[in-house]
């Protein structure tokens, strides 16, 4: 049995408190009137930043500016300041959302990975099942928090989704056409169905796994696990895809991409697998999980490498077609990102593709724990930036910077994640001893 050390508990609580305080400051610091924005920007201008005079900004179709289409993008007088005001008011919300989604997606990726192990009747992985189950425990609090944020956004308490703003929709033919799907009520009902289905599978999968430990005769519970895992995967691939349209793609409601669901899936899958590897290596370094050998780490690192390449493949497939065809309503998505988000946009490619490609290519390096940890941390940071790139351009626009609210939101959810996951680890023995493939898994060697 794993026991949560006081140091780790304290560490995660400190992270949460610091994050929460920072986030409150972030919300408090957001300007509430145009005058404040003018003051802030004047202060910036004295530092030599030419932000106030950015008359040449290209706003081609960026959906944040939907409301400004009314003013024909005049950007004269107070219109520009009001525009920046909305972006800065969005900023703490958007950073809260990005961090909440990022940590939720890690747990969701692990849940999908876990289900695949059962559906494929994998023989190598049962020694890691308890780690995976513990990570998916974060789905409950993480999902609830996300649901609350989504409900607030869907009913326009904040201004994250422009389609939730009746003012905007009234003047936007394209969103009007999509409003039978993109409306607050439908949004919340769908979110409830997605989250409900995933949590239901999580509940029963963990329950059956524990029951199988108590009574493994005839593998009755294992067979049930197999069946619900197969069913869950069918449910998951549809709902995950729809979730990505709802929760992320609808930030830019004019824009669409048919492989967006896969793209988000690759991101959450690789983040989940990386987290399994990191937590496994951490537990091993503390003297737990003595039955996990180098070959298990090697296999996880192979997945990290492979799914990183898979992510790049999907990212590039999406990018190249849109870049090549150069259709205005499509290509605006990448123009905003390349012009306003150059560093995170290309930095993410380096962190998520080139770095894992070069570091994890060598077979021997995949067995060196500190190498896997280093690569894993870079991959996780890279995928946070990926989520950031998906959310920020449509909500914050060119007023982005990594400030107190972004860092605090990450700290808050990191603390919560560590707290929930490591507390869940203490709930059951670290070895799923009833699993019929356990012996094979223990003797797994490459």
């Amino acid at each position: 049995m794993y026991t949560l050390s006081n140091r780790l508990r304290l560490f995660s609580i400190i992270l949460m408190v610091v994050g929460l305080v920072g986030l409150v400051i972030g919300f408090a610091k957001a300007p509430s009137s145009i005058e404040e924005v003018k003051e802030m920007m004047a202060a910036h201008d004295t530092h030599g930043g030419g932000h106030g005079g950015s008359e040449t900004e290209i706003h081609a179709g960026n959906t944040v500016h939907a409301e400004h289409d009314l003013e024909k993008d005049a950007h004269s007088g107070d219109a520009h300041y009001e525009h920046v005001l909305h972006q800065l008011q969005n900023k703490p919300w958007a950073s809260l959302y990005a961090a909440a989604f990022f940590f939720f997606m890690i747990a969701l990726g692990v849940l999908a990975f876990y289900a695949i192990q059962f559906a494929a009747q994998a023989g190598w992985s049962p020694v890691l099942f308890r780690v995976m189950e513990a990570i998916t425990a974060y789905l409950v609090p993480g999902g609830l928090i996300l649901f609350v944020i989504l409900a607030l956004s869907g009913f326009h308490v904040n201004h994250l989704f422009v389609w939730a703003d009746p003012e905007v929709v009234a003047h936007d033919k394209l969103i009007q056409g999509k409003s039978s799907w993109l409306n607050g009520t439908g949004f919340i009902i769908r979110a409830a169905i997605f989250l409900g289905g995933w949590l239901l599978y999580r509940h029963f999968a963990v329950k059956y796994s524990r029951k199988q430990d108590e009574d493994s005769t005839g593998n009755k519970w294992y067979k049930k696990s197999f069946k619900i895992s197969a069913g869950f995967l069918v449910f998951f691939i549809y709902t995950e895809s729809m979730m990505s349209w709802d929760w992320i793609m609808s930030f830019d409601p004019h824009w669409f991409s048919t492989l967006f669901g896969w793209y988000v899936f690759a991101s959450l899958f690789v983040s989940g697998i990386t987290t399994i590897a990191l937590i496994t290596i951490y537990l091993k370094s503390k003297g737990y999980l003595e039955f996990v050998n180098d070959s298990h780490i090697h296999d996880l690192a192979k997945f990290m490498f492979g799914i990183s390449i898979f992510w790049t493949y999907l990212w590039f497939s999406q990018f190249m077609l849109i870049w090549y065809s150069n259709i205005p309503e499509e290509v605006t998505y990448f123009i905003t990102r390349i012009e306003d988000y150059k560093l995170p946009f290309f930095g993410m490619l380096v962190m998520n593709f080139i770095f894992p490609l070069l570091v994890l290519m060598n077979s021997d390096f995949k067995r060196v724990n500190w190498f896997v940890v280093m690569a894993g941390i870079v991959i996780l940071c890279g995928h946070y930036i990926d989520v950031y790139n998906m959310i920020m351009p449509a909500t914050v626009g060119e007023s982005w910077f990594i400030g107190i609210s972004e860092i605090s939101a990450v700290l808050l959810f990191l603390g919560l994640f560590l707290f929930v996951v490591f507390r869940a680890l203490t709930k059951a023995p670290l070895l799923a001893k009833g699993n019929p493939y356990l012996e094979e898994s223990k003797h797994f060697h490459y």
């Binding site: 590039f316 190249m320 090549y324 150069n326 290519m361 060697h445 490459y446």
Partner: protein, 179 residues
């Protein structure tokens, strides 16, 4: 000069693996093992040094990438620049996304083909080559371990091999320049 080798046949890869470990721990020299299919971990158990094929593969991939870049640069930019889809070919780097599929494919093509050819050359395989495996059953369902008898006590060695689960043990006089 003739040397003696012992051929021990096995019918199961797990038994074979254990046998290889045992024979090696008794400090006998295993010349070769013939298998109908690849057995994972056998190379490690036999103490064969790690393959360098992966390194050559990486280098071939780099060659392929370079060839692709030079080729596309010559064809699409220098020799015959065209305006495709409103993207005139004036600079390689600006049109790079369009060339990525070719860069990727040629990297894989070079790495895969040259690696296979290297593997054939390194294993001394070529078309119409006479098979080297000493027993045709090793292409079906038997595993054969060839142990160098050297100056060892042959009786002791054969009884050791029998203990490891060999189903058949043969002592072969091998002519030095037989092949």
């Amino acid at each position: 000069m003739a040397s003696k080798v012992i051929h021990a046949l096995y019918t199961d890869d797990d038994v074979l693996m254990d046998a290889v470990k045992k024979v090696r721990s008794e400090r006998y020299h295993i010349e070769e093992v013939f298998c109908p299919f690849p057995v994972h971990g056998l190379d490690k158990a036999m103490g064969i040094p790690h393959t360098r094929l992966a390194i050559t593969s990486f280098m071939y991939g780099c060659v392929g990438l370079t060839v692709a870049v030079l080729m596309m640069n010559y064809i699409m930019i220098e020799d015959w620049p065209q305006n495709i889809g409103g993207k005139p070919s004036f600079s390689y780097i600006e049109n790079m996304p369009a060339f990525v599929p070719i860069m990727f494919e040629l990297t894989v093509f070079f790495a895969a083909h040259l690696m296979v050819i290297t593997f054939y050359m390194r294993s001394r395989l070529w078309p119409f080559k006479e098979a080297e495996n000493p027993d045709v059953r090793t292409t079906d369902d038997h595993f054969l371990m060839e142990v160098d008898a050297g100056n060892h006590d042959i009786e002791k060695l054969t009884s050791l091999l029998g203990d490891t689960g060999a189903v058949e043990i043969k002592i072969i006089d091998k002519e030095e320049d037989n092949h």
